[in-house]
């Protein structure tokens, strides 16, 4: 009788646990969940200076990291309420799919396959990039044809290796890819000459080039050939439009502020006759689920797009003027829908 009673208690306990876990919610209220939780879980890179980098003290910095803070400032009102989750290329989309992170801002390229097969939704492109090649300056390689039969280091699970295969096969250049899981194994292999070239997004190559040269390594050259389009931006899961829109309008607010001439130094007390500016600074309530003054919070706590770019990307050697990341009024591609 004792044994039966103990067994019954065990079964009941399991049933309660199962009921408490329950099915995952059908989606659609991640915005409310994040605001309840009070912290944003943001997937980032931790080894690319300028975009997602963690220093010896454990502090995160970078272009993508700042956009995590932008989303936190917009949705939660506090740019520091972010839990950064460092991810490598192989696990980044799986972490997003499984719900481990709320948003992925980790120099991820927008492609059709990722939109479809990976169950993700790509938002406003924050950085227009392209794939390039880096070689040691002493090697004398000046064009892609010089790379015939070469070993080329590449990160696995990226659009980089697909583009490399497609473009070099199309041009009839034989090559051998050496695939590594992350930069900590790739960089020593490249620096010791195990591969003759390193291919990645031009922004990452600029970051690594400045890191190698400032640490006393050999001079590096980035080849002029850009072989692909790499639009980088934040990524969220499929099926939650409210969350996607909240993130997207938070991110786009930085570009709109730049266009209006609002930055972190003058946002407090910015006065203008333009009704659009008044709407932007809090007069409009479009029911996006964001607080009315979200733009003010974002600009005062993090800055506008130009400030974020100057803080993170200019130090690694990529100018803003003349690049595709310039404002549309200056000939670039940064153009956001009106906040009206």
């Amino acid at each position: 009788m004792m044994r039966v009673k103990r067994f019954a208690v065990l079964v009941l306990g399991l049933a309660l646990v199962a009921a408490a876990c329950g099915d995952d919610d059908g989606g659609g209220n991640l915005l409310a969940e994040v605001q309840d939780r009070g912290t944003l879980r943001c997937g980032v890179n931790d080894v690319v200076p300028g975009f997602g980098f963690v220093d010896a003290a454990g502090a995160y910095s970078g272009f993508d990291v700042d956009f995590c803070r932008v989303v936190a400032a917009g949705v939660l009102g506090n740019a520091n309420a972010v839990e950064f989750v460092p991810l490598n290329a192989t696990e980044r989309l799986t972490a997003l799919q499984s719900g481990e992170i709320d948003v992925l801002i980790r120099n991820t390229t927008w492609t059709a396959t990722r939109d479809g097969q990976d169950g993700s939704t790509f938002l406003f492109t924050t950085f227009y990039d392209g794939q390039g090649f880096m070689v040691p300056a002493a090697s004398g390689i000046t064009s892609l044809e010089d790379l015939a039969d070469a070993d080329i280091c590449v990160l696995t699970a990226t659009t980089t290796e697909l583009n490399l295969t497609a473009v070099l096969n199309a041009r009839g250049i034989p090559f051998n890819p050496q695939g590594y899981a992350d930069n900590t194994q790739l960089r020593p292999a490249y620096e010791q000459g195990q591969c003759q070239a390193w291919t990645s997004d031009a922004s990452q190559l600029a970051a690594v080039k400045s890191a190698i040269e400032s640490e006393g390594g050999e001079a590096q050259t980035i080849l002029p050939d850009i072989i692909s389009k790499e639009p980088l931006g934040p990524v969220v899961r499929d099926g939650d439009t409210a969350w996607a829109q909240a993130v997207e309008w938070s991110v786009m607010a930085t570009v709109q502020a730049w266009e209006f001439g609002i930055d972190s130094t003058n946002v407090a007390g910015f006065a203008s006759d333009d009704a659009n500016v008044a709407n932007f600074l809090g007069a409009l309530e479009p029911s996006l689920g964001l607080p009315a003054d979200f733009a003010v919070q974002i600009i005062s706590q993090v800055g506008n797009y130009e400030e974020i770019y100057i803080r993170n990307v200019i130090p690694i050697g990529l100018p803003l003027e003349g690049s595709p990341n310039d404002l549309w009024t200056n000939g670039g591609l940064m153009y956001v829908p009106p906040y009206r």
């Binding site: 399991l14 995952d24 396959t113 000459g193």
Partner: protein
């Protein structure tokens, strides 16, 4: 299914069904089965619901579509071939690393295990040092160390300035060493290679026949049979005759640097991923096998060694005919599990860019193939490999068992 009890007044009575122990047992089993099945169904339903919500497909159709990326160190691989063929390449690479790793680990483990019991102080101490160091380092660290110490930061030059070794007077190199590729000569099958293999098969038959004949000779006359030597001789005779008759069987292909200095044409290439994984896992698993061998030798009763010495057997003969056969009986089951560990540890090859099945599966998942199906296939591959190895070796194990009446 009725039971009866005898109560305090001595009268028999029927037991109610909910206190009948046999009924309770059956009901308990049924509840447990239902519970386990419900749990598994709930987990599976959870997975499928979430995948559907994210519009990720749950079938295996992705296997037929093009791979779109190049497999490292496999120039013959066409990126337009299917994902399934890429996975076969991965399985082949895993098998290669596992096979050569097992051979290296077995030989080295046997020698080090015996060496630890040697009466030579230096040999015994060196063997102990080897075992105690490598057993306590995780296999991934060993692989990364071998890869970095031998290749990345090691003594070998880059390929365009590779060390080429050739025999005196020959302008062919038989060994090329660099920090990414090592190359050795290989054989290229000529036209009559098939004929030669038929002759080799006939040679095997001849060897078996000769061995049987020599065994019969020994039964009749008591002379030592030397059947291995006779069999080998018969096989070589038939195979050599077949080789000479067939003519153009195999040609030697010498490895050479290509004109760009970045590739090796001809010969057989070993890339640094393969060498690192094989050597590192061979060294690591050998330290475990050495301990197993040592333990199994110590398990043989001391009287056996003393009796062998009393019969004036040499040290080699004592090991070969008395100690090791008895020791293997004890050693083979744990060695089987060490072999399985070695095959599974090849999955750490991604750290040195070795294109084995785990690395290729992770790459394809990162490039948009559905993760659950890919991981299930990966687990299936390792399951099939492990079951095959263990069942083959268990056949050998059963032959060693002591048969008791």
């Amino acid at each position: 299914m009725t039971q009866t009890t005898i109560d305090s007044s001595g009268r028999q009575s029927r037991v109610v069904w909910y206190r009948n122990i046999r009924v309770l047992r059956v009901v308990g089993q049924a509840i447990a089965v239902v519970g386990v099945v419900a749990l598994l169904w709930w987990l599976f339903n959870n997975l499928v619901t979430n995948l559907d919500r994210l519009n990720i497909n749950t079938d295996f159709g992705f296997l037929g579509r093009p791979t779109q990326f190049q497999v490292p160190y496999d120039e013959g691989f066409n990126p337009r071939s299917s994902v399934w063929s890429m996975m076969l390449v991965g399985v082949k690479n895993t098998l290669l690393a596992g096979f050569f790793g097992i051979i290296l680990a077995s030989i080295l483990g046997l020698l080090v295990g015996i060496g630890r019991l040697s009466s030579n102080w230096l040999v015994a101490r060196l063997a102990t040092l080897y075992v105690e160091t490598l057993r306590n380092i995780p296999p991934l660290v060993v692989i990364v160390f071998v890869g970095f110490a031998v290749f990345t930061f090691g003594p070998f030059p880059i390929l365009s300035e590779a060390d080429q070794f050739s025999l005196f007077g020959s302008d062919h190199s038989f060994l090329i060493l660099s920090n990414t590729i090592w190359a050795v000569p290989s054989l290229i099958a000529g036209e009559n290679a098939g004929l030669f293999w038929l002759a080799a098969l006939a040679g095997l038959g001849a060897a078996a026949a000769v061995a049987w004949w020599r065994t019969r000779v020994r039964e009749r006359t008591g002379k030592p049979h030397h059947r291995v030597l006779f069999g080998l001789g018969a096989f070589l005779a038939v195979a050599a005759t077949g080789y000479l008759i067939a003519g153009d069987v195999y040609a030697l292909s010498w490895p050479e640097l290509s004109e760009t200095g970045r590739r090796i044409t001809g010969g057989f290439e070993l890339n640094f991923g393969f060498i690192s994984v094989t050597v590192a896992l061979g060294l690591y698993t050998a330290s475990h096998i050495a301990e197993i061998v040592r333990g199994s030798i110590l398990a043989v009763p001391k009287g056996q060694s003393e009796a062998a010495n009393a019969l004036a057997l040499s040290s080699f003969q004592r090991y070969r005919y008395v100690v090791l056969p008895q020791a293997f009986r004890v050693a083979v089951p744990p060695i089987i599990s060490q072999y399985l560990n070695l095959v599974k540890n090849t999955s750490l090859g991604i750290a040195v860019s070795y294109a084995e099945i785990t690395m290729l599966t992770q790459t394809s998942i990162g490039n948009g193939r559905p993760a659950p199906q890919s991981i299930i296939l990966l687990m299936g591959v390792y399951l099939a490999l492990s079951l095959t190895i263990s069942s083959l070796l268990n056949v050998y194990n059963r032959r060693l068992q002591l048969v008791e009446r």
